[in-house]
């Protein structure tokens, strides 16, 4: 039953590599994991990769630290499978040396001298070349029958501020290392990253800085010729009251509110009564809420002007756990299906 990416998720149907970026802390890891679950429909297999060496995926799934090895981490609702891999640049470099040069013990000598450390930390972009290279390898990998091993690869990527440089590093390296296997490899990776096979999503909150970063990020990605996917608006809070209603309540209807509180069983509504004393603090909280709603509305307008397709994920009030992740995944499926 497994086959090509297929018929789902509108314009991203063919995007086999889905890269999830966004400002720090907006929910990149969470959204990437939810997307991996959502895309793992019946009979499908997805690979969730992380590249920053933080074991964020393992933490999220409550699993032990991931080794440098692809492992099944979850079964999606409907039966698809999610695999996970924490790509480690040092290991990737050694693999790589092995692949091209059959290095063996010389590889270990390099490691001892700090060359690997040096190479992966300082040598311009080499680290990023290895990380993107590994992800693209997984995208292109086929089994003996010639089918893709993973229907989708989802990358929990570096934040917006570094994403363009990260994905574009292969261009830079292809320029710096003008010949040789690195040059060739870099070009091959770039071909995947700049094709419609890839979509770069940006996660944001309805707050000024993340929205600003999203706008800047989209512009940068486009300028670099990288395919922008969707904006994922995360942690959206329910709106209980709008400002107009609230103002009316605060100005003219305090006594009525007090009586309503009293009717609901919260004490007396007369001046100094329990219910009456709740009115001020409750209205103050509501005023804060209203001004936040106002700010969120302004940020929504900014987002609308970007004219991007979006997903919108609710703030899970009880905090994040596995059940919450499945909830977000089904939300993503629902929103993709609606179009």
């Amino acid at each position: 039953m497994r086959g090509r990416g297929g018929e789902w998720l509108g314009s991203e149907a063919v995007s086999r590599l889905q890269v999830v970026s966004g400002k720090g802390g907006t929910g990149k890891t969470t959204v990437a994991a939810a997307l991996a679950l959502a895309l793992a429909r019946e009979g499908r297999r997805t690979l969730l990769v992380e590249v920053e060496g933080r074991q964020g995926i393992a933490q999220l799934f409550g699993a032990e630290a991931l080794p440098y090895e692809e492992r099944k981490i979850a079964v999606a609702s409907g039966g698809g499978e999610v695999f996970a891999l924490a790509i480690d640049a040092e290991r990737a470099l050694l693999d790589y040396l092995q692949m091209f040069y059959k290095l063996g013990s010389a590889g270990r000598a390099l490691k001892k001298l700090g060359a690997i450390d040096f190479a992966t930390t300082i040598a311009p972009g080499l680290r990023d070349v290895l990380l993107t290279g590994k992800a693209c390898e997984a995208v292109r990998r086929k089994d003996k029958a010639g089918r893709y091993v993973y229907d989708h690869v989802i990358m929990d990527a570096p934040p917006t501020g570094r994403i363009t440089r990260f994905l574009n590093v292969n261009d830079e390296v292809a320029g710096l290392a003008r010949f040789g296997p690195i040059h060739n490899q870099a070009q091959a990776v770039m071909k995947v990253l700049k094709s419609p096979e890839t979509a770069v999503h940006l996660v944001t909150l309805l707050e000024e800085m993340p929205v600003q970063e999203t706008a800047d990020g989209i512009a940068e990605l486009r300028e670099a010729g990288l395919p922008v996917g969707r904006v994922v608006v995360n942690m959206v809070r329910p709106h209980h009251l709008d400002e107009a209603t609230l103002r009316a309540a605060a100005d003219e209807r305090r006594a009525e509110v007090a009586r309503a509180l009293s009717r609901a069983g919260l004490g007396g509504a007369r001046r100094g009564g329990l219910a009456e004393r709740l009115v001020d603090p409750l209205l103050a909280q509501a005023a804060e809420h209203a001004s936040r709603v106002e700010l969120e509305r302004a940020q929504r307008t900014v987002l609308e002007q970007l004219d991007m397709e979006t997903y919108e994920l609710p703030l899970l009030g009880a905090g994040m756990d596995l059940a919450g992740l499945y909830e977000l995944a089904s939300e993503l499926r629902k929103q993709a299906g609606e179009e």
């Binding site: 720090g24 300082i122 509110v257 009293s262 409750l282």
Partner: protein
């Protein structure tokens, strides 16, 4: 600790931890012995905001302050007049200088800072060669650790100028607070280290000790590297290293010097965290690390804490009351609901949850009699909304409290200042002042 433990450990019902000691922010700012304040913490918790707010407050309390910000939000930078990137401090206008204080501020330009080091330590020709080197350009534009290194470097420079009596330092938005301490040394040793010397003069290393095998190893290695990175890139690196020759030892030494400055008595670290598991976990690591490094921790700034003026009303009661009102609006007063309006029933309800319920319910028995005639569904709806909002707020407060209790039980000695979450972003002097006042008060307004 992962999110999974959050819900289970130290459950909500338990007694509150002993309160952590209060961080005396004004005393810290006023003390002429305080020369450097470093604001560190995980990404996005409010380091830049806290640093700027402390700067404003210290200046308005009479000190001559410079704030070194890193990547401030655009509007904040604009409102402080530091949005032009010239890498030197500017006087911030609009700060009250009645007590003789001044505020200067700048935002770090890491590339310029790096360039300036090169220009300051090499003759013009050599400096030109370094600045034009492709490897240098990639390095200075921001590879791992460059920003942290340059922040330390800039701090050292500001301190050396001795123009200010207080320097407030923001730290880069790295994912781990520890990067600020570790990255400069790491970069310093790479730039000065063994490996880079090897690249520069492989023959010398092998020859000197007569260790042939090392020599063989070296050429194998440089050979491999040159295959791997392409000979041209390796050549760039070697040229870069050769040009930097005069500065060898310098990078590590400079990083070490600033590191010592951070251990000096005039330095105070503030760890900033939001009351969330990830941020407080980072804060705990950092607190432990500071102790291990003999670096003086002033305390924890707990930023974006939520409070409520109606904490006596629990989330559960608020939700139940909201449901009451909503049902009342739809189903036109079922008997069960009517029961609630019965004075006796209300007295019970008030007794159950409110502290001084009993006496009051008696006094109030007449209140809703007149309201009964035209029960306004609209008001019920608004009020239910108010109650739901309150229930959400109370849940947030409970969650934050559990998270904090865990930190306090790990580090009961750490002084804490709480800063309430403001409804909007902080992007001007008025906002910074408001944060400063909350920092000094140490407890969230309305709590």
């Amino acid at each position: 600790m992962t999110e999974a433990t959050t819900g289970t450990k130290s459950g909500s019902g338990g007694p509150r931890m002993d309160a952590a000691p209060r961080l005396p922010v004004d005393r810290l700012l006023d003390d002429p012995g305080t020369r450097i304040i470093v604001c560190c913490g995980a990404g996005g918790v409010g380091k830049t905001t806290t640093a700027a707010a402390l700067g404003v407050r210290a200046a308005e309390r009479g000190r001559k302050v410079v704030v070194l910000t890193i990547d401030p939000a655009r509007r904040l930078a604009q409102s402080m007049g530091i949005d032009s990137l010239d890498n030197t401090p500017r006087r911030v206008k609009g700060v009250d200088g009645a007590d003789g204080g001044e505020l200067h501020a700048m935002m770090l330009d890491m590339k310029r800072t790096f360039d300036e080091i090169v220009e300051g330590h090499a003759d013009a020709e050599r400096a030109g060669a370094i600045l034009a080197n492709p490897f240098y350009q990639s390095l200075s534009a921001g590879f791992a650790g460059t920003q942290e290194y340059m922040a330390m470097e800039k701090l050292g420079q500001l301190r050396a100028r001795d123009d200010w009596d207080l320097i407030v330092v923001d730290t880069p938005p790295s994912r781990s607070a520890l990067d600020f301490l570790d990255a400069p040394k790491r970069l310093g040793s790479f730039l000065d280290g063994k490996f880079i010397r090897v690249l520069m003069a492989p023959a010398k290393v092998g020859g000197r000790a007569g260790m042939k095998f090392l020599n063989v190893g070296m050429s194998l290695m440089t050979g491999t590297l040159s295959k791997l990175m392409g000979a041209s890139l390796l050549k760039d690196v070697q040229t870069f290293v050769a040009a930097m020759d005069t500065m060898f030892g310098g990078f590590r030494t400079r990083a070490d010097a600033t590191f010592r400055l951070l251990q000096a008595p005039g330095t105070a670290f503030l760890v900033v965290a939001a009351p969330e598991p990830d941020a407080l976990r980072e804060a705990a690591y950092f607190v432990e690390r500071l102790a291990a490094e003999d670096m003086p921790l002033a305390g924890l700034v707990l930023n974006r804490v939520h409070g409520s003026g109606a904490e006596q009303l629990s989330a559960e009661r608020a939700l139940a009351a909201a449901e009451n009102l909503e049902e009342g609006g739809i189903v036109d007063q079922e008997p069960g609901n009517a029961g609630l309006r019965d004075p006796a029933a209300e007295a019970d309800a008030a007794d159950g949850g409110a502290r001084d319920g009993g006496a009051e319910a008696d006094a109030d028995t007449d209140v809703h009699v007149d309201g009964d005639a035209d029960v306004d569904a609209d008001v019920d709806e608004i009020t239910a909304g108010l109650l739901r909002l309150h229930a959400e707020r109370m849940q947030v407060i409970a969650r934050e409290q559990r998270t904090r209790d865990r930190f306090t039980s790990l580090h009961p000695e750490v002084a804490v200042a709480e800063v309430a979450a403001l409804p909007g972003d902080v992007h001007d002097l008025a906002g910074l002042r408001a944060i400063g006042e909350r920092l000094a008060a140490g407890v969230p307004a309305g709590a």
